[in-house]
């Protein structure tokens, strides 16, 4: 009759615990450890370690493919190669609002997003919302073969132009 003997199963000294309490504690603790382990394993399992995604480094081709004073979008890689009088730079074509692909409107000389109407100038500076930030400049350099290279994973803060 364990129900009736409750008073006896509780030991007199507060430091001591009954056999039942001890096993309950062991059980609950081990379940908690197992749950934490399961959560950690699940998180690790759900995060892929290898991504079969396109390389962030893009070969944008020879500089003379780009006419002077032009903005060229490559929709596959989502970058703009901009050629100004000073030289070349690369802009991300992904809208900073919700990730849509923007487009260059040559007649208005602006970059516009079709999804929610954000507008940027050709240097990526925001003209009109809802985009919270300007389009980032991406690191650009010349390869040994004389091709323009862009790293889409590296935004640069200082607006450096690649001079030819």
């Amino acid at each position: 009759m364990p129900e009736n003997d409750k008073s006896k199963s509780v030991p007199d000294s507060p430091e001591e615990m009954s056999r039942r309490q001890f096993f309950i504690k062991i059980g609950v603790t081990s379940m908690a450890i197992a749950a934490a382990g399961t959560a950690a394993f699940s998180y690790e399992y759900l995060s892929p370690n290898v991504l079969y995604e396109p390389s962030p480094i893009v070969d944008a081709g020879k500089p003379d493919h780009y006419p002077p004073d032009s903005v060229t979008l490559d929709p596959q890689t989502a970058i703009y190669v901009v050629r100004t009088g000073e030289g070349f730079f690369a802009l991300s074509a992904i809208c900073t609002h919700l990730g849509c692909l923007t487009a260059y409107k040559s007649d208005l000389a602006i970059i516009a997003c079709p999804c929610h109407g954000s507008k940027f100038n050709r240097e990526g500076v925001k003209i009109e919302g809802p985009a919270p930030r300007p389009l980032p400049w991406l690191r650009m350099w010349m390869s040994d073969e004389g091709n323009l290279m862009v790293d889409r994973s590296q935004a640069i803060v200082s607006k450096q132009v690649v001079r030819i």
């Binding site: 998180y43 759900l46 892929p48 991504l51 995604e53 919700l98 990730g99 999804c115």
Partner: protein
Amino acid sequence: MANTLDQFVDQLRENRIWRSIFRSGTGESNLHKSLVVQQNVFLHLFSIKARRRTLEFRATWYLGAVTFGTFMILVITGVLLMLYYHPSVPQAYADMKDLQYVVSSGVFLRNLHRWSAHAMVFLVFAHMFKVFYRGAYRTPREFNWVIGVILLLVTLLLSYTGYLLPWDQLAYWAVTVGSNIASAVPLIGAKLRFLMLGGTAVNANALLRFYVLHCVILPLFAILFIAVHFWRIRKDGGIYAGDQSSEVGSR
């Protein structure tokens, strides 16, 4: 003729095999009618008795039942669509087009799935409005309202994950936008988006993850919570009849 048919049905229901399956047996008594409901694994979720006025059209407009009907249509048509659809980047869009133009009745099943999905979202909201404006969410039914809100979220997630599967431009950009909204969650946003898409962009992993969510994980959650939702109707004293005085356990 009718008499002999009735006799035949009665004989069938007295048959030993029939009785081994349906133990309640025949009879018109209240006890027998109750046993039919109580001893059936599907029906036992529901009450054996209901107030007549709760079964009238004006009480509920049958919105919950019709929502469940659309869910059943979605399960059946969805399973059939799975027989032709491959959740892979090169094939998904082509399979969707094959369903429309090549597979016999494919366009019918696909459109039935699509329209039922739209109808289900509408009906879930209509059901919630009806429950809200009748005050049927109040004690003792407040927890069933919470289950209903969970079911609303599951319905919306089913809609959202199903949106990607045609793998067309609309699907791609809708999920790009949606996953970027998820990344606005404070602190864990970027991680959440990464887990959701299985990568940094909407790609093969995202398509497969959305497919598994849409076809397995979310429907299981929906069925689980629908079962609890129905069972709670009985446990909370049946469908809300409208008058507070006859309520069991109110206040």
